[in-house]
Subunit: 208 residues, 3 copies
Amino acid sequence: MIHSHAIVDQVDAIGRETNVWAFAHVMAGARVGDYCNIGDHAFIESGAVIGNNVTLKNHVLVWEGITIEDDVFVGPGVVFSNDRFPRSPRMPSAKRRYRTKANWLESTRVGRGCSIGAASTICPGVELGDYSMVAAGSVVTKDVRPHSLVMGSPARHVCDICTCGQRLSGSYLESDCLECGEKAAARWDARKGKPVEVRMYGARLLFD
Amino acid sequence: MIHSHAIVDQVDAIGRETNVWAFAHVMAGARVGDYCNIGDHAFIESGAVIGNNVTLKNHVLVWEGITIEDDVFVGPGVVFSNDRFPRSPRMPSAKRRYRTKANWLESTRVGRGCSIGAASTICPGVELGDYSMVAAGSVVTKDVRPHSLVMGSPARHVCDICTCGQRLSGSYLESDCLECGEKAAARWDARKGKPVEVRMYGARLLFD
Amino acid sequence: MIHSHAIVDQVDAIGRETNVWAFAHVMAGARVGDYCNIGDHAFIESGAVIGNNVTLKNHVLVWEGITIEDDVFVGPGVVFSNDRFPRSPRMPSAKRRYRTKANWLESTRVGRGCSIGAASTICPGVELGDYSMVAAGSVVTKDVRPHSLVMGSPARHVCDICTCGQRLSGSYLESDCLECGEKAAARWDARKGKPVEVRMYGARLLFD
């Protein structure tokens, strides 16, 4: 469903069952997956990549260099960025810098199932780990661990959160979620030669 | 007045003498009172309630669960929110959470005459007291007392302010406003069994 | 180039080779110079003044009282403001305040070559010095020196930066830029009776 007041420059870049709402603009060369929701006044630039089941609330701005994986929630008014030391590309002394993207373009990965609270700012070149959560109004200046809740300006770790979004009393790998029953654990993976996370309980509850 | 480039899904939900400017979108099921001003690119979701004489500057985002009382000023780029632990409702493991609004929807009240400065973020479930003021760029994470000026991320009390918007040297109940002459006082209300605020002076100046 | 979905109320107020993108709105009485780029959903109010070679990224909000000089970069979602103690002008007790602009309107100057990072908030009445830089997500509450990088809420000085946008190890007047080779120095100006800044090196690199 594409609202009659939205602009989608290249309709075949939008996945199945994805909605694009009023006054949103998806540029040609952006890719948006299936079952997504793109809110009013959102903007997705050429080169941005968005997975499946993603919710982009109203006024979200996504640029080239930003990759948003499946199942992500991006709250209203969230702004991404991709240039750490911007100058106006039209300023004569900055033209050299903007001749090639390698000079300035930094990429950002938003991991699977991550949530970004309303009106947060994501600085260039950071990585938001899977199922991490950014509290509303935060300014994220560095990488966020998976399952970490971060808050503030600059955003700092507060506690771990469950896949379902609830706060945990301890670290994700050592806590049961009182809300959904999920319990994760580290299992030794012989092939990788390191421990990997496994969800031990809760799958039935979560993925019904 | 509804601008030719605005979208008002249900015109009879908009009060008399209310303006809706370009690229704004008021969904069906939202209620907007009389003599309001809804700026460009603002968005008002179904279920939001807005009183009379309210100014919503450009790009303000108002959701279901948000109630804005009479005489409120909401500055440009202010973002409300209504879900404390959001996940993408399209993520399979979050579908249960989003089956019913009781699981996630938190409500916010913006009291009469309150002002919210530019680009502030209002976290879910807070109450902004009557005639309180939020400084530009703040992140409001908890309730704000009436006539309190709050500032910062997270927003903290700085001083009291008058109904007219000026800073007071002491508490609202004990200070004369040098700007408008208003003086409030607590009077014992026998019916309520507690003190209530009364504006003792300044009414002539303020309400001429 | 004015996008078919943009609104420019007064086309002759827009300079040569300036682009205005989709869903942007430039009101009558605003002035925009040559070779500018006005992003999607930006809003420029009557009375705002914008120079040449300016980049306004998406969703930028510029009001009366704001002057943006040549070569400035304003990042996505940046919000300016011009009223330090706002109340809803429609609230009966605030009508007196809004009878004349002298009561409330404060002006802001954004100096030549300045950069304002994504989603920053600029409080009323501040001055951003030439070639200064505001980090993403900052709240600027007071003046910023030329060539200063400020960051945070409230924004504070971090270090000096070069005209080209790179961080310097010391003050602008005493540092060589490792990136572009620019070196500034103070020279005594007999006519002004004070030292003035001169760029001693790097001009060839910068202004080729």
